[in-house]
Each structure stands twice: as C-alpha cells, then as structure tokens.
Symmetry: C2
Subunit: 233 residues, 2 copies
DNA sequence: CGTTGCATTGAAATCCCTCAAGCGAGGTGG
DNA sequence: CCACCTCGCTTGAGGGATTTCAATGCAACG
C-alpha cells in the first residue's frame, strides 16, 4: 500500500499574489520519520509565501520540512498577525490529534516538504502503542515550545525577545556562531509580538553593543555569546 | 491493585509563608476520568498558594481539579512570573508524556485535587490504544489553549486581554452572566502579561462603560455581553 | 480599632509603536 | 552600463499605551 497516489496539491492559493511556479507534485517517494514512525512520503515544493494549509482547514496531512522554512500563524479580523512557530529542516508541523488545523501554514522561503496522510499516522498509532506514544511526545514538544513562547511574549522586553529568538534559532540550526535568517523582519516581529521597527532597532543596538554582527540584513554572526546569554535572563 | 497506598504528599513547601493547615492525605478512593480513562484516585486538599508540584520536578502524578482552582506558572530569575494556565473544577493538569514538569503548580484558592500516578495512565495507554489517543487529545487541548494565549499576549491590547479572559472564564464556568473570580488581580496580571494596576484600571473602565458590574473585587457581572464580544476582536 | 493584605487611583516615566523619511541591494529597461 | 524602480530594512521624531512609583481606600481579622 502506498500513500503516494493519494497525495495531491492541498489548499489552493486564495490570494491573488501567490506564486505557483515551483509547485510540483509528488516526486520520488521517500522514507520519512515522524517520531519513531517511518513511512513513505511524497514531497512537494512550495514557493515563498505560498500557503501550505489554511486556518480551520481539515487536517488531511502531516508535514515535515526537508529544506527551507515554514511559519504557522493566526490573523485577527483587523489584520494583526501572530506567528505561532517557525519550522526548520527536520521539524514536523501540522500534526493534529484533532480534525482541523488551528493555524495557517506558509512557506517562509522556497521549501521542500514531505507530506503524509494524517490518517496513516493515526493508523500506525492504532496498531502500535509505541507509535502512539511517539506522536503524543511530538505534540508535547510543540506544547513545550508554545509555553516558552508564552513566557517570552508575556514577560520579556523587546531586547530579550530578540536575543531569545536568535539563541533559539542558533541552537536549532546547530550552525556554530553564524545564522542565515530565512524570515523577514516582519515575520520576526509577528513572532515576537513587536513591530518591524522595534526588531530592527534591537538588531542595530545589539550590533552597536558588539554582541552581534550583521554582514547583511539576513545574516547574523554571534560575536559575544556571553553577553547575549546574559540578556536572555 | 490500589494506587492509594502509594500516594504521599509531593513537593514539600519551600517558601516560609506556606500554609499546611488543610493538607490531608488520600481520603476515600474515588473514580476519576482522565479523557476516556477511568481509574481510582486519591484526593488531596491544598490550601491557598500551596505548591502542588515544582518546576523541573519529576512528573510523578497527573491531577484533576475537584474543587477550587489551580495555576501553573514559570518564574524568571528576576522574579517576573508568567502564569501559563488556570485550571477549574473538572480540568486536568500536570499531564506529561515526558518525565518532568515544565511549570510549577499552585492552588489559587483552597482546592481539592484528585491524583493519579502518571505511570498508571502511561500503563493504560500501553494497554489500550484508545486510552493513548485520549491522552494525546488532552495534551492537544492544552496546546490549543496555549496557542490562543499566545495570540492574546502577542497581539492584543490590555483591554482586549481582560475581556478575553473574562469571556473565557465565563464560558468555562458555564455560570450564566456572573462570575466569582478565584484568583487575585496579581494572578490575572501575570496570566495576561500586564500589571495589577493595568488590570484594575481595565476592570474599572469596563464598569464605567457599563459593560460589567463589580459588586466586589472578586465578583464580575456581565452587563453588556454584546459590547464585550466586540472588544474581543 | 489598629493592622494587614489586596485593590484602586493618580501622576510621572518609560518602552514600544506610529508615522515618515532615507537607504541599499536587486531587478528591469533603455 | 547605468538610470530607475521596488522592496525590505533602517533610522528619527513624536506620541500613546502601559508601567512604575506613590498614595489612598477598603474589607477581613485579631
């Protein structure tokens, strides 16, 4: 039994400005691990800002980032946006025990994504209690991240938020001391509950303090990790 | 096999001011449901502000509020506190797939809590995949709440936060139009990422606007639900 | 009836946002 | 190849929402 045949493009782009040029259907099937579960998956490419799924949409698939980056977000009626999380290569998103997504997901940059039917994972969980535990653990990791994010949004200053963000990203990239940000200042702002201007000012300030270097707006080099760690509080 | 014998007081109070007067060990065993799982539990009483478990502590038990209210929180090194969640009668907290708690939990007011060994739930999950799914669903509900909270902290104004808080609590209490808040202004502030003064000012302002009435500081009567819903955005 | 702890209110300060202008890299067309 | 445009980012000035600091009010309790 292969899942591949059943994979098809999800969530057709709704906004006019969407780019479809790099949308391709399942290429070579590949084995992908979701927790302890390993299953054949299709891969799809999404171009920058392309929607992967929408808020309130039925959760048909679970996704794993192969390359690129993804954001999940919610938008209030007046346009204010809160980004829940960024997902980097190797990370899983869209995993739901329930039937519908509570966020929309979009590609932050051109991205390659492995997809698997949610029902296939559910089925694996029904067959094998360890698979079930593993999925539970994945949801719990999400919860842990959300809870850290809560503390950040509720009780940290703008500077602390930016520093926490950079250190978190650095850790997840395991990238030594330099970092290429896949996301824009607007994305960072909407993740940190700030405005682009404030984010920009905090970057500049950290640079003046010799804590970081900014060879260009998307690249951050940690210059004084000690100082950053102290701002992390 | 009864769990009761193995229950004992957890997390001895660390701060000097703690009250122990109403700490009592397992009384009558009672059947308690955790998701779809029903198991015999012990109950314990905790007095106001008493710690139920500590941050980073091993997650030995899972808890369900019988009466009273509970808060889970994290504290930064400089004393800033973020309350993750409040738990009302019927709600479950401290459920972890992993081994350790990521928050501390304290009684908001004198509370009666049912306890069950985490390993007992884990065991039920290993025996029965539906039990496992049910626990997963409980964690996911937590995640959903955390994500709503994220949006609130990241993108809502002080007034919107207070209104959202009141409406959420009202819904969970199913209490018609009046509400007896179990928690102090400080708890509310630390939940909403505000200060007590701001919370107090927002209450006063809503009262001036004839949206609510405040017979006393702990009691809130919804006077104009329509107006409140609009502020909810 | 004083004390104690929480809540409210006011005034001043602060942090972050808003509005606006300028800058720089990348792309396009002449 | 260079002028020109666009888009994202940065920077500045001013303003506003929330915090901080301080005083007062109020109810419970001994």
């Amino acid at each position: 039994m292969t899942m591949i045949d059943t994979v098809h493009p999800v969530s057709p782009a709704r906004s006019a400005g969407m780019q479809w040029r790099s949308l391709t259907k399942s290429e070579h099937p590949r084995l992908t691990t979701f927790g302890t579960i390993e299953l054949p998956t299709a891969t799809m490419r999404f171009s920058r800002d392309q929607e992967i799924y929408g808020e309130e949409e039925a959760a048909e698939f679970v996704y794993k980032v192969i390359s690129g980056a993804v954001r999940t977000s919610k938008i209030l009626s007046d346009g204010r946006r809160q980004i829940d999380s960024f997902y980097l290569p190797g990370e899983i998103f869209g995993l739901q025990s329930g039937e519908t997504h509570r966020f929309s997901a979009e590609a932050v940059v051109d991205a390659e994504i492995a997809l698997i039917k949610r029902t296939a994972l559910k089925a694996a969980a029904l067959r094998d209690v360890h698979a079930a535990q593993s999925l539970w653990a994945l949801t719990e990791r999400q919860l842990g991240r959300a809870q850290d994010h809560l503390l950040l949004l509720g009780r940290r200053s703008a500077q602390e938020r930016v520093v926490s963000f950079l250190l978190d990203l650095l850790e997840r990239c395991a990238a030594g001391t330099a970092l290429d940000l896949p996301m824009s200042r607007l994305d960072i702002a909407d993740y940190l509950g700030l405005t682009i201007e404030t984010v920009s000012r905090m970057f500049s300030q950290l640079e003046r303090d010799r804590s970081i270097e900014l060879p260009n707006s998307r690249r951050v080099v940690m210059r004084n990790r000690q100082a950053l760690a102290e701002l992390h509080a």
